[in-house]
């Protein structure tokens, strides 16, 4: 419990400091001015969401190889966290695009890829909700998760070939690209802060899913026992037991 409180305080401090740095410390951008500061929220939420989707794929592969329930729990936890990050990205993107590009939305490579990605992982979560048998749910959703992840580069390449409006990669993008060093440091801080929120969220969700699974198994065991005793004893006794 103590570590939890300490962790919460650390993450809260980190988030407040990152917010302050993004709003006040980072230098003004030459052409976009204040509106560019949304960058410090937009990019970190993407980074976490793509990381989370990669975790989903790894968890899916690990589940199919080992058949351990915990990988399935990790998969669903990461998918939910990824969808949150993706949703934040999809909401902050248009807010930034409207004043800068003049439109809320354009069908450019990265936007389209992310939108499809969001749809794919929402379908992944929906699919899980509609499959009843736990083992089958884990296996089939793992297969779907792997297919979805394989699709991501294809979506990106196809849209890249098709049309694109996003800036050429600014960070690590070759000659003439690159962030102002202060901007880079603030961005890094914001990435750490967002991970600071997402990782505990993911771990908690993972634990919850494991507990839920345990509960389901216990419930099944109790049901199996009560049906056995129903057949052995009189109906009234069986009822008392359950």
């Amino acid at each position: 419990m103590k570590t939890r409180i300490a962790g919460t305080v650390v993450v809260a401090a980190l988030v407040i400091f990152a917010g302050y740095a993004a709003l006040y410390i980072a230098p003004d951008e030459r052409t976009m001015h204040e509106i560019q500061r949304i960058f410090y929220f937009h990019v970190p939420s993407w980074i976490t969401s793509f990381t989370a989707f990669t975790v989903v794929c790894l968890a899916n592969v690990a589940y199919l190889l080992t058949r351990q329930q915990r990988w399935d729990s990790l998969g669903v936890a990461a998918a939910e966290v990824g969808v949150i990050g993706c949703t934040i990205g999809l909401l902050t993107g248009p807010l930034w695009a409207r004043p800068v590009w003049g439109v809320w939305w354009t069908w450019d490579a990265r936007l389209t890829t992310t939108f499809i990605l969001w749809l794919l992982y929402v379908s992944y979560l929906l699919l899980r909700g509609l499959l009843e048998d736990p083992e089958r749910r884990a296996t089939l959703s793992a297969v779907f998760g792997i297919f979805a992840y394989l699709d991501v580069p294809l979506v990106y390449v196809s849209n890249r070939l098709w049309r694109t409006q996003h800036p050429q990669p600014v960070i690590l993008g070759g000659q003439g690209s690159g962030l102002n060093p202060t901007m880079a440091r603030v961005l890094l801080l914001c990435v750490v802060a967002v991970f600071g929120i997402m990782i505990p969220l993911l771990l908690d969700r993972y634990r919850l899913e494991c507990l839920r699974h345990e509960l389901d198994e216990l419930r099944l065991a109790v049901e199996a026992r009560s049906t056995n005793s129903d057949s052995a004893l009189s109906p009234a006794t069986g009822k008392d037991r359950s």
């Binding site: 499809i116 749809l119 379908s123 929906l126 089939l140 297969v143 779907f144 699709d151 979506v155 849209n159």
Partner: protein, 224 residues
């Protein structure tokens, strides 16, 4: 028994099953035609526009028709537990999947054979001179649709609301295929038709990626 031989036997079984009633084919073709006609009402395209947007419409019709048609592929096996019988047969699971993919490919191709001429007439598109190259694009696109669709038909067959679920799983995955197939078809229907190498290669790549993935994952897909 070799995988190819087993797949061929399963293919015969699927074809025989379908051609006894032809219900799947008939409904698919009529449904796709309804989409083609409704599109013309919704957008009222000029001849110039229909050449530009026609390919998109055609592929949307195929995608919708495919996502409905592929659903019974595995769901049909469930009503009489025939899937269990297939699983017990001494053949590889990939053979079962491959047989179904081939059967679905044939069904969807037959629907396209009917639909493409109808589309050409309704939208005043001349296909003379490009038919061979068009067939190549259609085959590559249909293969991708059928490969992913058959796999997802097996995934959704066990779920509740499976009829709704299959299009939901399938259509987002097919987004890159749609772009590639439409762009390749557009360049074939242009004033100076060319076979777009990039998009054709992309389509082939899509097919290869997902066929390999289904080969690797088919055991998990069909396990009890």
């Amino acid at each position: 028994m070799s995988t190819a031989r087993a797949a061929a036997i399963l293919l015969t079984k699927e074809l025989r099953l379908e051609f006894r009633t032809r219900e799947l084919l008939n409904t698919t073709i009529i449904f796709a035609m309804v989409v083609v006609v409704l599109f013309s009402f919704a957008f009222n395209p000029t001849p110039e526009e229909s050449r530009r947007y026609g390919p998109g419409l055609l592929w949307i019709a195929f995608l919708f028709a495919g996502s409905l048609m592929l659903h019974p592929s595995f769901a049909r096996e469930q009503s009489n537990q025939t899937l269990d019988a297939l699983r017990m047969a001494p053949v590889s699971t990939f053979a079962i999947l491959l047989g179904k993919m081939l059967a679905n490919f044939i069904f969807l191709s037959l629907a396209e054979v009917v639909l493409v001429p109808v589309f050409a007439v309704l939208y005043n598109v001349s296909l003379a001179g490009v038919i061979g190259r068009l067939i190549l694009v259609l085959v590559l696109g249909t293969l991708g649709l059928v490969i992913t669709g058959t796999v997802f038909s097996a995934v959704s067959a066990h779920a509740r609301m499976r009829e709704l679920l299959l299009p939901l799983l399938l259509l987002p995955i097919l987004a890159p295929l749609l772009i590639a197939a439409v762009e390749a078809t557009v360049s074939l229907l242009a004033d100076e038709p060319v076979l777009d190498r990039t998009w054709t290669t992309f389509l082939a790549g899509f097919d290869i990626v997902f066929l390999s993935a289904s080969w690797l994952l088919c055991d998990f897909l069909l396990e009890e």
